[in-house]
Amino acid sequence: MMSSLQNPRQAAAQLMNFGLILSTAFMMWKGLSVITDSPSPIVVVLSGSMEPAFQRGDLLLLWNRNLFSETNVGEIVVYNVKGKDIPIVHRVVRKFGTGPDAKLLTKGDNNAADDTELYARGQDYLNRKDIVGSVIGYMPFVGYVTIMLSEHPWLKTVMLGLMGLVVVLQRE
């Protein structure tokens, strides 16, 4: 292992392998983003507001292109609210108008009231552009890893460190 540090090409190659693992993962994510036209094509359900459809920790696959039909009432969508970082997964329950200016109202299946409380101050409805994508697939429970990672940030450091160590120490 140490001998590799004396040879600049070999050191560069090892560094490159590590870099390529990271960049390939990133580019695959971006590729999925481009295909689904969504800035964040895979999200993890963080709350129980859509039970029994989705539980905390479910992984959702999104699709953000209106190829055949517009986003309609009944679809489960993920949307962002201005000023809030966390995307929300709820169902469209009302729709006024058509096209990009349609006004959409959402509600969590497990919530008593609709989402007007959750929207930004003064906002009563969503526009199409607020939506990150409609749910087209899900995988139960898998996303719990990311919930663990975001609730215990030190786990991230540990994981990254371990991954880096393995790649640097191993040449294959």
Binding site: N7, R9, A13, N17, G19, S23, K30, G31
Partner: protein
């Protein structure tokens, strides 16, 4: 580089192969071969340009958001796929496990690629020699790693170099001492018993200098003492 101070795990095939691979350039360059880094350099160029592209994509995505840059991102993803494909192609079909490319002082070019098979402790070496007249020759050597690793996992240079010099005339010409060693080729395994390798390892640890100058002690095959004594 006589005997590496470093120990490797003798059960780790990747360690065995990597240590042996690293020894080839050391040995050949000491024999005045001129090493060519073309294959590695192309691989590094492909890999790092792919990485740079991904880094740039990350930067504009981070700064400007997804929506305003998505066409650039799409182009970057396509280009990245192409670059990565080219890199994979290069490694699989052009490099093919090449560990050394170089030109002998006499003008022949040498290309050495090595491989191992899972759970088989054998070093498979393929050597392509291209003469000055453009005549190509392919030689295949397969030897057990035990020939040049002692029981503790030290790499012992002498038998390794003998293996190369005696099987490859191009190298043998430049290092006649090593090439001459095992004329009785059938007894190659017997030439270095594990005990001898250990002794050689101990004797050589303190010796610093060009490997080619060291006594092999192999012709004598005079047991343990023969390995220790330095022959002119």
């Amino acid at each position: 580089m006589a005997v590496s101070q470093e120990k490797i795990t003798v059960y780790n095939l990747a360690d065995l192969k990597n240590t042996s691979d690293d020894a080839i350039p050391n040995y050949l360059n000491s024999l005045k071969f001129r090493q060519s880094h073309r294959l590695t350099d192309v691989r590094l160029a492909l890999g790092y340009s792919a990485f740079a592209l991904a880094a740039a994509c990350f930067a504009w995505d981070y700064k400007l958001g997804f929506e305003s840059t998505k066409y650039f991102t799409a182009a970057a993803v396509a280009a990245y796929t192409l670059l990565n494909g080219a890199l994979t192609f290069w490694m699989l079909y052009v490099e093919r496990g090449t560990v050394y490319m170089g030109t002998a002082p006499s003008g022949e070019t040498l290309r050495i690629s090595t491989s191992t098979k899972k759970n088989v402790p054998t070093y498979f070496v393929t050597v392509e020699v291209e003469g000055k007249d453009g005549k190509k020759e392919v030689l295949k050597i397969s030897r057990a790693f035990t020939e040049w690793f002692d029981a503790a996992g030290h790499f012992v240079a002498a038998p390794f170099q003998t293996m190369l010099a005696s099987s490859l005339p191009v190298i043998g010409k430049l290092d006649p001492k090593r090439a001459a060693a095992p004329k009785e080729d059938g007894a190659a395994e017997a030439t270095y018993t594990p005990e001898m390798l250990d002794v050689l390892a101990k004797a050589n640890v303190s010796v610093v200098g060009s490997a080619a100058e060291e006594a092999t002690g192999s012709e004598a095959a005079g047991g343990k003492k023969g390995g220790k004594r330095r022959k002119a």
